[in-house]
């Protein structure tokens, strides 16, 4: 129990301390240190798993997401420490707003972890809401017209999403209440999952529609994705990395938990076709949209929509193999996309612009950064031997096995995105150097650390991870 409490308390205390600290250089490293301690506390969950309580719990599903979240939060805070200093130097940010930024970073970590470890559907909802609010203020951090507009749009759409998710949550409680009685027990995941078979299926179906639309907005599934590219493009780059790498996963986790409940009830609809439809539309739409992007961060935001589409599609197919592929893809996309945003952050600082037209020949002018970027983009495009090739290969195979025609839109979407990414990659990374070219002082370790892990995952997965994935995949149903 103390371990779970520790991963929640450390970020909260760190947020309070960082809100009070006036020295921003020191605060940036303290932020990284706090994130590292949270990561250490989370890693201990791998060895000893605490008993579930009525409010908090750890099981095969959320344990890897908790460790992944704390790990990426740590590496992002490391990247942020070297990135954000530059933003103060060029006067895009003031030391005061930086203090706010660091405190909010820890609050965001807290909120995401709360949503992940909550054994209570109400508490999980509160975690997602709090994470939304903190990211809204972070997106508006630069106080430019564009960033405020992006924050407003994100706020309105995100609020509607979580309001609908709450209605769905209440319906699930209503379904559980007639079986499990009134009180907090009827909100606990552990109880809900054990008794799911006896719930009223019609009520569960209705609830799932609201949950899908509500949390689906937060996942960024088309046609509810409108907030996502703006929020990614206008906020500070470390926040884009956390948004894409972690927050989308947290919302998806919430959705999948509910899918497990539906899978445990015979009379309920299979959510598969709904998720397939939303996944396919996200994949194809984002694939097409990738071609017209002029802003590098916006482009990778669309790539996140594409990958969330792939993941939703995968869980929509269902069955042990596809579910396994989906879980793997969630983890690998998180690592790869945050690595790409680290590279993009350094690139836009080097070039003094986010526009693709201002970039070129990075492998010549900044070899380490340029090749890191190339590796990241090739990995996200799904080339072997990187890990995402593995998971995408599994997705395509399981789609073929289930319904051969399902593989057609999937492969088309993957090919579309691949083409767009390679096109842009050539422009940014190769050819004669273009645009302004400042030297980088930033640390590239987080970038290569993530890429190294994705590379290893393409060749070999640790045994316990495979066992967890298999257990969860069987619970997620068809």
């Amino acid at each position: 129990m103390t371990q779970i409490v520790a991963i929640l308390i450390i970020p909260l205390v760190a947020a309070l301390v960082l809100a009070a600290l006036p020295w921003h250089r020191f605060a940036a490293w303290l932020n990284a240190l706090a994130s590292f301690s949270t990561f250490l506390a989370a890693s201990s969950l791998l060895y000893a798993r605490p008993e579930a309580t009525i409010l908090l719990f750890i099981d095969d599903f959320n344990v890897y997401l908790v460790v992944l979240t704390t790990f990426v939060a740590f590496t992002t805070s490391w990247f942020s420490a070297s990135y954000i200093e530059h933003e103060v130097e060029i006067k895009r940010l003031t030391p005061a707003s930086l203090r706010f930024y660091h405190a909010m970073y820890q609050v965001l970590t807290f909120a995401m972890l709360l949503a992940l470890v909550a054994n209570n559907i109400g508490l999980m909802w509160v975690g997602v809401e709090a994470a939304t609010l903190t990211t809204v203020v972070m997106v508006g951090l630069y106080r430019t017209r564009e960033s405020l507009e992006a924050a407003w749009k994100y706020f309105i759409l995100g609020s509607v999403g979580i309001a609908l998710a709450l209605f769905g949550t209440m319906l699930v409680y209503l379904a559980a209440q007639s079986v499990m009685g009134e009180g907090v027990e009827a909100l606990a995941w552990t109880g809900l999952q054990a008794r799911a078979a006896s719930f009223d299926p019609a009520l569960l179906n209705l609830a799932f529609v609201f949950l899908l639309v509500g949390y689906g907005t937060k996942v960024g599934l088309a046609p509810l994705h409108a907030w996502l590219p703006d929020a990614h493009a206008e906020g500070p780059t470390p926040i884009s990395a956390v948004l894409s790498g972690l927050l989308l996963n947290v919302a998806l986790y919430a959705l999948l938990r509910y899918k497990m409940i539906l899978a445990g009830n015979e009379g309920a609809i299979t959510p598969g076709p709904l998720m397939l439809a939303m996944g396919t539309s996200s994949l194809l739409l984002a694939g097409l949209m990738l071609y017209r992007r002029r802003d590098i961060k916006r482009m990778f935001a669309y790539s996140s929509i594409e990958h969330m589409g792939i993941i939703a599609f995968t869980f929509g197919i269902g069955g042990p193999l596809a579910n396994f592929a989906g879980l793997l893809h969630m983890a690998l996309h998180s690592l790869t996309k945050s690595a790409i945003f680290f590279a993009v952050g350094h690139i836009s600082q080097v070039k003094g612009s986010q526009k693709l037209a201002d970039m070129g020949g990075l492998t010549t002018s900044h070899p380490a950064l340029g090749w890191g970027f190339v590796l990241g983009v090739l990995s996200i495009a799904g080339l072997p031997p990187m890990g995402l090739f593995m998971s995408e290969f599994l997705v395509v195979t399981s789609a073929m096995a289930r319904q051969p025609w399902l593989a057609v839109p999937l492969v088309a979407g993957l090919a579309l995105a691949f083409g767009a990414l390679v096109l842009r990659l050539q422009q940014v990374a190769f050819g004669a150097p273009r645009g302004q070219s400042a030297p980088i002082s930033a640390s590239l370790v987080p970038l290569y650390l993530h890429l190294g892990m994705v590379f290893v995952a393409g060749l070999w997965l640790p045994r316990p991870l495979v066992v967890w994935f298999q257990n969860v995949a069987s619970l997620l149903g068809g």
């Binding site: 106080r143 609020s159 209440m170 409680y173 209440q177 009827a186 009223d200 002029r294």
Partner: protein
């Protein structure tokens, strides 16, 4: 079930919240929208207080009090100040005409009854009808957010959507965390209104009409600048 005075009063209060949702849809002036919303918040507070009384659940009085003080008083006063300070348009641009919006509203109420009634056959009658009313209010709130172009009315649309959620929550007997939920939502709404203040102070927006916000779609803005 029929004829018991508790149910009749609970239904009457929920139905008056729904009626005020329709009132929100046909207002053409910003001040009218704000007044209608304040009235709706009073009705929600009354509904919550009545449920607290009949269910013998004293914590619901807190929810009622939050609705009464925060949503019926503080928020409407703050919003009227914003409207006056910003010299916003007194009339509201609508995407749909008022008649069409009302018609769509009736359709949504029918839809939510059709959705909820078959799904909740096992639940108590009171819960079931309350849930259908609450869902109609949620959907009408969404409709208002879609059909109104003005940021203040969008925020009010969101708050009336949230009134529907509160109504659903207090109607489900023994629902835990209702109070916590209404506090969480108050925080959210406070953020929204506070955000509008921020926009005004920074003077980044010439107007709060979201039509202008929509200039910012895709990359167009960054391409121009």
């Amino acid at each position: 079930m029929i004829g018991r005075i508790e149910f009749d009063i609970a239904h009457a209060l929920s139905a008056s919240v729904l009626l005020l949702s329709f009132a929100l849809l046909y207002q053409r002036r910003v001040s009218g929208v704000i007044e209608a919303f304040a009235l709706q918040a009073v009705a929600v507070a009354a509904a919550a207080a009545w449920q607290a009384f009949t269910q013998d659940a004293p914590h619901l009085y807190i929810t009622a009090l939050i609705a009464l003080l925060f949503k019926a008083m503080v928020i409407p006063i703050a919003l009227s100040r914003i409207v006056r300070k910003l010299g916003m348009h007194k009339t509201i641009e609508t995407v749909l005409g008022v008649n069409l919006a009302l018609l769509a509203g009736v359709g949504l109420v029918a839809l939510s009854i059709l959705l909820v009634f078959p799904a909740t056959s096992v639940a108590a009658v009171l819960t079931r009808e309350n849930l259908a009313l609450a869902l109609s209010i949620v959907l009408l709130g969404l409709l208002m957010m879609i059909t109104r172009r003005n940021a203040v009315t969008q925020v009010i649309g969101f708050m009336s959507l949230e009134n529907g959620l509160v109504l659903a929550a207090v109607g489900v007997k023994g629902m835990p965390l209702v109070v916590e939920m209404s506090i969480a939502f108050s925080v959210l709404i406070a953020f929204l209104v506070f955000g509008m203040f921020i926009f005004r102070i920074r003077e980044r927006f010439d107007t709060l009409d979201l039509q202008y916000l929509e200039a910012f779609r895709g990359d167009h803005q960054s391409e121009r600048s």
